[in-house]
């Protein structure tokens, strides 16, 4: 048995073996189970899980020194649009390193970003397949943006530059359109996206009648982590949302699941605002066209009516002269009527008077005749009563104080009376 070696000597042996037998660089596929940055160096834990049981079948530590990491990281983020994070499938270019004090580690010199990208795409495909299976993939597309989409719920982080761009674009429009925008703040970066955005959507859903559309916007660099937008739960929430959702979460390379299922997908917050403006602009033009058409129709109608009136008006003098003639005839007839009635009345009255005159004449004659006869009778009676005649027959008349005495009792003794006889008068004294 050899003399025991110190741990350093033994580890040194391992180091020599490793450096001689594993001198090449290898591409390795693995899942990141841990990743952290310390003083610019990157420390990772790699794992390979059993396909079925999900239990690890291999594990290893890996490091990327600051000098490489500062090149690799931006390149990866640029290609994938994501940060390296645990749970991600990665393909790393590594070489073996064994240090007497720190043990075995794979040193990372490069990362195949396209590999991760492919893996992400595959995950997206799975989510999409699931959404299609649930029958909700096209639900948002079936919604229609209201004609006057002016009440907008915005899901964004409060301080994002993109939100400012969106608001500016919407407010400073040349038409002077007014929008009512309400912000529902949410985390738009990293791990918290899913829960935060779902919470914001739930808040909007509670008052969905107050809004016409939802805009999910996120401003920022292309290197930001977008993976949070590619989760099944968030996709389901968006797909089943009762209002049209417009996404402007800014991703140049390819669509996130959210973009695919949303009602409308634009690239930037500014574009989201432009989309809303354009929509309203179309409506505005429809209104302007309708207004023009109405005016044209009204003018045409007025012109037609004017012509009709003129046409009618031309008939008025003729019609009125007919009325006038008729009335004049009526008046003439009335006058003739009056005159003839008056004449009739006059001649009838004249006749009456004439008749009366005739009647009067004959009546006067009769009367005169009567009177004449009466007079004659009276004359005869008078004649018969003449005192001269009585005197001549021997009768006498006795007068006392000039009055005829017919009653002897009124005479007293000594009264002187005068007696008239046919020839002469004699006086006598009463005894």
């Amino acid at each position: 048995m050899n003399a025991p070696l110190s741990l350093f000597e033994l580890n040194n042996l391992v180091r020599e073996v490793v450096s001689t037998s594993l001198s090449m660089e290898y591409w390795v596929e693995a899942e990141l189970s841990e990743i952290r940055e310390v003083r610019g160096h990157c420390y990772m834990e790699l794992v390979q899980k059993d396909l079925f049981s999900n239990t690890p079948v291999a594990k290893a530590s890996a490091k990327c020194w600051k000098s490489r990491w500062m090149y690799i990281r931006p390149k990866f983020e640029q290609v994938t649009g994501q940060y390296l994070r645990s749970g991600m499938k990665v393909m790393l270019k590594v070489y073996a390193d064994f240090h007497e004090a720190y043990g075995f580690s794979w040193i990372v010199t490069d990362i195949n970003a396209e590999y991760t990208l492919g893996d992400m795409a595959r995950k997206r495909m799975q989510i999409i397949a699931q959404l299609k299976k649930e029958g909700v993939f096209d639900l948002q597309k079936e919604l229609s943006l209201p004609v006057f989409a002016q009440r907008i719920a915005v899901v964004s982080s409060e301080n994002a530059a993109g939100l400012g761009d969106f608001m500016r674009q919407l407010t400073d429009n040349s038409y002077g359109f007014k929008f009512h925008v309400e912000l529902f703040p949410a985390i738009m970066q990293g791990e918290g996206i899913e829960n935060s955005v779902i919470a914001a959507l739930n808040a909007i859903n509670g008052r969905f009648e107050d809004f016409d559309a939802v805009v999910i916007i996120r401003g920022g660099g292309a290197t930001s982590d977008m993976s949070g937008f590619d989760t099944l739960a968030l996709a389901e929430n968006v797909a089943n949302f009762p209002l049209p959702i417009i996404t402007g979460i800014g991703h140049e390379r390819d669509e996130s699941v959210l973009d695919m299922i949303s009602h409308t997908r634009v690239k930037t917050p500014t574009a989201a605002a432009a989309f809303l403006l354009e929509h309203l602009e179309v409506v505005w033009h429809i209104l302007v066209d309708a207004e023009t058409e109405m005016v044209t129709i009204a003018q045409h109608r007025i012109e037609t009516e004017k012509q009709r009136l003129l046409h009618v008006a031309e008939k008025i003098p003729v019609l009125f002269s007919l009325v006038k003639t008729r009335h004049e005839n009526q008046l003439d007839k009335l006058l003739m009527n009056i005159i003839s009635l008056i004449n009739e009345r006059f001649s009838s009255e004249k006749h009456n008077v004439m008749m009366l005159e005739e009647k009067l004449k004959s009546l006067v004659d009769v009367r005169l005749q009567n009177e004449k006869h009466h007079l004659l009778m009276l004359e005869q009676r008078v004649k018969a009563l003449d005192p001269e005649l009585l005197l001549s027959r021997g009768y006498s008349i006795t007068l006392h104080n000039g009055r005829v005495v017919v009653d002897a009792s009124i005479l007293k003794t000594g009264d002187e009376v005068e007696t008239k006889v046919r020839k002469g008068i004699f006086k006598s004294i009463i005894k």
């Binding site: 008046l331 009056i338 008056i342």
Partner: protein, 65 residues
């Protein structure tokens, strides 16, 4: 009511009333002359109104043209 205020229809009615009274022998001879004078005056008024309206219509329509 003065003659300027009298409407055509009212004037016409008055004339007709005079005729009616004449027909029914309701007018006495003394007022007959007066009534005839009134009837003539009303007829004149009606005819004037007709002529005036005719002129007015023609004038109005000329203005529109």
């Amino acid at each position: 009511m003065t003659e300027t205020e009298l409407k055509y229809e009212d004037a016409l009615r008055q004339i007709e009333q005079i005729v009616e009274k004449l027909e029914n022998n309701e007018l006495d001879i003394d007022t007959m002359g007066e009534q005839l004078k009134t009837a003539k005056k009303l007829i004149r008024l009606c005819k004037d109104k007709l002529t005036k309206t005719d002129d007015e219509i023609k004038k109005i329509l000329e203005c529109q043209k």
